[in-house]
Amino acid sequence: MVTQPQQATQVHTRLQAAASRQRLGEVGRIVGLVTYVTFALFPLFWILLMSLKKPIDVIAYPPKFIFTPTLDNYRDALSRPDFLLPYKNSLIVTIGALAVTLIIGLPAAYALARMDFKRKEDIAFSFLSLRFAPELVIILPLFVIYQQLKLYNTYIGLILVYQLITFPLMVWMMRSFFEDVPREIEEAISIDGGTWWHSFFMISFRIVLPGVAASTVLGFIYAWNNFVFGLILAGRDTQVITTGLLQFISFQEIQWGSMAAGTMLTIIPEFLVAIFALRYMIRGLTAGVVKG
């Protein structure tokens, strides 16, 4: 027979054990997270350090964690044409590609989300399927065709081919935002005598404007990050930032410091714009399958 106080102590020790198990679990959780975050951030940290090092410190072995920092690498990167020209080209091509995608993609996304018609899913999937093709299966023939059409090494040629990524990504992402708006909006607008055109404007530019903006940000990141289009279809004058950075390490004698500074200058703008779209990113990454 168990007396009252004994029972109380048993319950007490069991609670204590549970509490300490929980504390242990919490410690384990923090250790696990810190380990993964270290893995995720160390390369960024290392390249940041490298961008602040003098040439002698870059090649030192053992590698230096403590040194006198310098901004010379940034000054160098920002003064060399083989960095600035690709940077400018990337801006032109990316912004151009986003503009084209918005003009033809916004009505498409609206129709796919808000209207019922035959073969809707087939059309939607044929857009999405562009994203699943290995890039070269289209780019390699274009390498030949563009030279015949005089589109090789032109901004227009690149902007058109960038639609391969921005168009399916943004149409499917915007479509998932459009689908979230209740049907009553159109009914209300049509009762007030508005046409589909009023509904389209109301929904695209008022109600889901943040969604359209987030889609554009993600489109920007994907276009900016692309490598293979520029590698094959851009010449000297239209080289983009990713192919430009690669040249820093392949052709001339390797200037690690300037390359690292160029890398930082390439990714920092992306991190800044991404903060805004982070919440919505998952829709873009999964073509709206996961709403997040």
Partner: protein, 287 residues
């Protein structure tokens, strides 16, 4: 309304449809070239040679090797990223100030150009780089990284995992958050331990999310190009030469367009087989 609403959706979609058709042209032209002898360097136009390119690809060592590398790379990358991503998503599930900072930080690798990420890793993976230095500090021998045939493929998969594990984390975190708390509590009340709870309740509930991961990551890993091209160019001695990179060297460097297109059509077929999985998935609408 001025126009009949029956044709309006198609009108709105017309530019997009025209774009898709425009893209179909190079694709079909390229697919035709895969059945021709087309050497851009010789200046001769493509001449039909039936399935000769495919026969050569599937009978010589180079083509079969590239197919093997393509699948080994994709399988390893998807497996590593799914397991690691699931673990980290579980750790990030509990709300808290530290968690929200970490949730933002772990996404960073996914936002940068894969080429730039690969350059970073390449710098760290040199024989006298910081990774071997850190290994030495903890008493381990230096690793071959991208430089030896045995270690190059795992090293490229490591870079892939660094970039894309956040993708898995984001999706599984959304999945985990969609599971109501009372489901977990019910399991605990029944006396289920942690491991039983994950394997019998959580993982089955997350099944649709795992399918999404395998489809999206699987396709992207099958057509991996940027990481391999930037880190090893398919070397050393073809140890990392997958179909996509092989097609680049055959088509752009050797100008053998016919053979390169055969590589690409085969790779395209693999990717689309996985993509059709997604089509059926979306019809089922898991989330």
């Amino acid at each position: 309304m001025v126009r009949s609403s029956r044709s309006l959706p198609y009108l709105l979609l017309l530019p997009g449809i025209l774009l898709s058709v425009a893209i179909l042209y190079p694709f079909l032209t390229g697919a035709y070239w895969s059945f021709t002898r087309y050497d851009l360097g010789s200046g001769a136009p493509p001449s039909f040679n039936g399935i000769a390119n495919y026969v050569r690809l599937l009978t010589n060592g180079l083509g079969l090797h590239a197919i093997l590398i393509t699948f080994v790379y994709a399988a390893l990358a998807v497996a590593v990223e799914t397991i690691l991503g699931f673990g980290v998503a579980l750790l990030l599930l509990k709300e808290g100030p530290l968690t929200s900072v970490f949730r933002a930080l772990v996404v960073l690798p996914l936002l940068m150009p894969p080429v730039v990420a690969t350059i970073m890793w390449k710098v760290m993976m040199t024989p006298n780089g910081v990774l071997n230095y850190l290994l030495q500090q903890v008493g381990l021998p230096p690793f071959g990284w991208l430089g030896t045939t045995a270690t190059a493929l795992p090293s490229t998969v490591l870079i892939d995992a660094w970039i894309y594990t956040p993708f898995v984390i984001l999706i599984l975190l959304a999945g985990l958050q969609s599971i109501p708390d009372d489901v977990r509590e019910a399991a605990r009340v029944d006396g289920a331990n942690w491991w039983w709870e994950q394997s019998h309740i959580i993982i089955p509930l997350l099944r649709p999310f795992f399918v999404i991961i395998v489809v999206f990551r699987g396709i992207d890993a099958l057509k991996s190009f940027d990481i391999i091209y930037t880190s090893t160019q398919g070397g050393p001695i073809n140890a990392t030469m997958n179909l996509h990179v092989q097609a680049y060297f055959t088509g752009i460097r050797s100008l053998n367009i016919g053979a390169a297109m055969a590589f690409l059509v085969i790779l395209w077929a693999f990717c689309y087989a996985l993509a059709f999985g997604l089509l059926r998935l979306r019809r089922g609408r898991p989330a």
